[in-house]
């Protein structure tokens, strides 16, 4: 479980996906440590890296 407010998680996901050339409808996976991967399993960022 991420210890981050809902609005911060939403903003972080949006930022990470955009930086990774993904669109809103693209699937991602979020791990407990905040790592985010794209649908192919490639790491594209971390929730805790986003302020």
């Amino acid at each position: 479980m991420l210890d981050v407010p809902e609005e911060d998680v939403g903003a972080a996901i949006h930022s990470i996906k955009a930086a990774a050339r993904l669109r809103g409808a693209d699937n991602i996976v979020i791990y407990d440590n905040g790592d985010v991967t794209d649908a192919r399993g490639e790491e594209i960022g971390n929730i805790y890296d986003e302020d």
Binding site: E7, G10, A11, H14, A18, R21, G24, N46, D49
Partner: protein
Amino acid sequence: MMKTEPSLSVKAFATIRFEGDALDPPSLDDLLRVRPTLSYGKGETYRIGRRGIEKTGLTGYWFLNTKTYLETSDLDAHVSFLTKMLTDSTAHPHRDHKFNRIKAVVDQASLEVLVTLFWIGRNGAAMPTVAPRFRSLIDTLRGGIETDFTITEGDPTSLEGRAA
């Protein structure tokens, strides 16, 4: 853009991306006169995140997130930042030299343009709308606009003691 009660607007920012195999990041830097959040050419290596994960560009990418420059939760301010980045004449962008140079680069290099708008507000806030003038500006670049707008319900714990 529709105004919403500032105290009800929690977080907002906008992003813009240009992408394409023929994209030359330094040329766009010079044209847009702003430092991107991330940019790379096709085949170039770049790093993302604080751990510096190394990647190779599958295509050219020039990406800017306005949250790098603005801390306000007013989405209008973020859209205004992008508008001023694209044109020196917000009243008549289609007659503006800077905007027409950007359009020429987008056309010649067959670049794809996408703007994304993020906004999250509290219950009672008015959902933002995209101003027709901004939409027209992005349309002229054959670009798209994606919106990610959310209104959150209040914290359930704040309802404690209010039950009838």
